[in-house]
Symmetry: C2
Subunit: 551 residues, 2 copies
């Protein structure tokens, strides 16, 4: 068991260094071709071998098999999963808890690191699984579902390892001078896991968003029940399967991690979340369900990444064309289905100053629209950027949204993707007063160019939106350093991470493990951050034992 820890010791050491510095670092290559010729082929074959079959998971299922995943690109996957009842899940997790909780930090981290390493080797299988459930285009499914998610997992392991090993281990001498004598005690500090962790995953980034919780729970000694979205089960089924294999091989009870599949008709998340045996709850998804959890789950830590309204403020720019291209990509990527996608673009009604001279409000709006058109002109590139729409309800929302403002760019299907559920960005122009339209989250490829008084008004509206509705990202374009400096403090107060003047190959929707703190916890878009100390330090407790020192 410590063998696994030794195997991955350097990886963990590098990750520990990365979380201290929080500059650029990545453990796993995001470039598919660096994985060689064989893995891509094997991954594709492994995925195809899973289709139209019962998924083989060595987990006791007392409640039949379920599974109705349908690819957003068309075909049903035809995969069923063993369904384990709630009582059974809790009983098995409880039975597995003691052995896992009492394992050494190194043993647990060794297992976690080995799981992550095997997930990395399975990145192509995972890419297909994520693509065909979430609708992400393959390149994104590979990166976000594979190496980027693995980086986030490793990041959580590093934080938890640092936190746990910060508590003194072994005998600590406590020698208190008392007059001419000394009172001598020996103290031991026992790390005690909280109990069973429940991780409720989302339908768009099933691995990236749930790995931090899964791995933080695991390495701090808590068994985990992984509850995937019923429409996006496969990526987490693969994850749980790999983790159970590593656990078994390392001599642990595989039920340290279990998959809790359910159906839209018979959901289990709420019942599990309030179950007294569940000690930790992690959730990624809608503010509606996040709010329910925060209101109803008492007496245990609840970590949420919810939704919000992400904004862009355009004051001025030194490169109008690059700015429009950058925004266009952010709006188009995965058809706006990222929790980091901008929704509201605030622009002064009098227009802005640029390297191309003055641009009116309409010229800014149409500049962005034209950049989207250019980006998506080639059907193959459009497909590679937009992917497909995960949830049919999102398509309906796009259709209805056209009435919410003046259409600057209409949403269309991605051409050449017949059979798939697709939609390119809808861009609407609205007035600042139309808050009912743009201050409501419109999940999907829907954005508003909002006409404001001026840049100050725009920043004020953007930061108020984050404070009131939550915001996971924010962007600002300006060539006025004083304005930027003033804005920085306002966005910080609103708890909205700010990206300034992004152009080229870096986008506001991207959040890099080991550097960007994803979700601040400082506005309604979520109460937890991937990953900071607070995220891991609550997952275990310290119990002190003290006794007279041996004479």
């Amino acid at each position: 068991m410590t063998g696994l820890f030794e195997t991955h010791r350097n990886l963990l050491a590098d990750a520990m260094k990365a979380i201290e510095e929080r500059g650029f670092w990545s453990a796993f290559s995001e470039v598919p071709r660096t994985y060689g010729e064989v893995l891509p082929v094997e991954g594709k074959a492994a995925f195809e071998a899973l289709l139209d079959k019962p998924f083989a998971l060595d987990q006791e299922a007392d409640d039949g098999r379920v599974g109705g995943e349908v690819s957003p690109f068309g075909p049903p996957l035809g995969i069923t999963y063993p369904r384990t009842g709630i009582d059974q899940l809790i009983a098995r997790a409880s039975a597995a808890a003691s052995g896992w909780g009492q394992a050494s930090i190194q043993a647990r981290c060794g297992v976690a690191l080995e799981v992550i390493a095997r997930l990395n080797k399975a990145s192509f299988l995972m890419a297909h699984a994520v693509e065909q459930t979430t609708g992400q285009a393959f390149a994104m499914a590979f990166q976000a579902g594979g190496p980027h998610a693995q980086d986030r997992a490793l990041e959580a392991v590093a934080y938890a390892y640092r936190e746990m090993t910060g508590i003194p281990r072994g005998d600590v001498a406590w020698d208190k001078p008392a007059g001419r004598n000394v009172i001598r005690l020996t103290k031991e500090f026992h790390l005690v896991p909280r109990g069973i962790g429940l991780v409720i995953a989302c339908a768009t980034f099933p691995t990236w968003n749930s790995y931090p919780a899964i791995f933080a729970d695991l390495v701090t000694g808590n068994p985990v029940i992984v509850k995937p979205h019923p429409a996006v089960i496969l990526p987490l089924a693969i994850t749980v399967k790999i983790a159970r294999q590593v656990l078994s091989e390392a001599g642990f009870d595989a039920d340290v991690i279990q998959l809790a599949v359910d159906t839209p008709e018979a959901p289990v998340a709420q019942t599990l979340a309030v179950h007294p045996a569940i000690a930790l709850v992690d959730f990624t998804g809608s503010s509606e369900f996040g709010g329910w959890l925060r209101d109803n789950v008492q007496g245990k830590p609840v970590f949420t990444e919810e939704t919000g309204i992400n904004t862009i403020v355009i004051d001025s720019t030194d490169d109008f064309s690059a700015m429009c291209q950058n925004i266009a990509f952010s709006l188009s990527l995965y058809s706006g289905q990222m929790c980091t996608t901008p929704q509201d673009i605030f622009v002064p009604r009098g227009g802005i100053e640029t390297n191309e001279g003055h641009k009116s409000f309409d010229e800014v709006a149409s500049g962005i629209a034209a950049a989207i058109d250019a980006l998506l002109a080639d059907p193959q590139r459009a497909a590679a950027v937009c992917g497909a729409i995960q949830n049919p309800a999102t398509l309906e929302r796009v259709a209805k949204a056209s009435a919410l403002g003046r259409v600057v760019r209409a949403s269309t299907p991605v051409s050449g993707q017949e059979g798939a559920r697709t939609a390119t960005p809808l861009v609407l122009a609205v007035e600042a007063a139309d808050e009912a339209a743009y201050l409501k989250e419109q999940f999907g490829p829907i954005s508003f160019v909002v006409s404001c008084e001026n840049a100050t008004d725009a920043i004020d509206r953007a930061t108020r939106a984050a404070k009131a509705k939550g915001g996971i990202t924010a962007a600002l374009y300006s060539r006025d350093d004083a304005l930027i400096d003033a804005a920085v403090g306002l966005y910080a107060q609103a708890g909205a991470p700010l990206s300034v003047n992004l152009t080229g190959g870096i986008y506001v929707n991207q959040s890099a493990a080991f550097s960007d703190f994803h979700v601040t916890g400082a506005n309604p878009a979520g109460n937890a951050c991937l990953t900071d100390t607070a995220y891991v330090a609550q997952r275990f407790r310290v119990v002190c034992v003290r006794r007279p020192a041996a004479a």
Copy 2:
């Protein structure tokens, strides 16, 4: 402002080392005579000068003056305090928030350390204030109200400082290789305070139990509203006054810390706790109110230290006499009014093996009773150990409790303390089946010697009590190493810190800053720990700003 930080830099460095090692360390002497001849005299005079007068606090009071403190030793204090209405408290804290939140970590820590240093110089004044409000005997009031509380404050500052300075400051380069190019961003990580902190203090240890929260909130940039118990205002009024002076001298708004006095007839804690402007709530006190807070305060961190049932298990001992003396002191100290005082002493019904041969159950019970009698035989020592009873309801509880079992030792007033509200320990013998009596918290000098099947049964009952009702301390006496080793894991699982075979000048009720984690958060006796990383890391958030690196 950084001047204050420089002044106290070494103190903080020592504290940082201490929290890493968690062996014995103390910043402030607990021995009154080390403070010289002058300070005790000045402290006494300063206290007497406060009596029967309006307390001078430079805080705007829009709701008159209140104050009805009566010394448990007899006389009313005759002090009134300015009462500030809730709206005013919130408005002033909000107005003070921005300047304080934007101050540097060093500036805030410098202020906090200077406040702690001045509190140390005021330890004798504080001792009188704590004695005459809580009923603690002077020696304890000095230690627990003064240097020990200051140590706990410093400990919280050290944890918060370590956590905040663990986030990279200044410009962090993020250089991501992208094919033949490199994407270069500069990132800044802004620490953002949560908002206004509310600290609700208790009536028995007003400073020791509230300083960690007050100072953790302050150094992480949050203004604090301190809500003392209406019967024990003075110690925190002095604290707030000193803190406001230091803040003003350092150029900050004194309203960074405010006192919120109330009366039993018009309490403000609930209204403040659920106020949307309050971002952090800390509470020490009853499980009843703690439970109300945990159930009703949504969307913000709530840190509680509540109550529970502390236990002792006696399996066997190598020094029967020293064991009985140790337990007798623990039961008598401050007349059992510590959150750490044992309540239930589990003893095998067949008796125990000792260095004095076999002792029957009754002999163990009467041995403890006799040790209490011996400890309290001298009235002066009895007064110095027991102090007085803070709350009249505790006396009533003691009177009623006599009916809950067979009286092994009756509670009596402390002789020579006429006019004071006093009670020596009541010791009752009960059967294990009498759970209705001993598994209910009986706050005050009330303890039960519980007849159990055997040591295993005793440990089982003790750990189940901690799990079900909460437990802040636990003790075990045994000369069986195998039994101790097995017990350690069980107590750890129950979240109860365990003291084994304590004799001599160290007691289960004592919790040492920089070493003992007080309250584990792992059972119902509270959800927070003084002080661990989780306690401080939730009090601020990190917001990232990223922009293209300057070319």
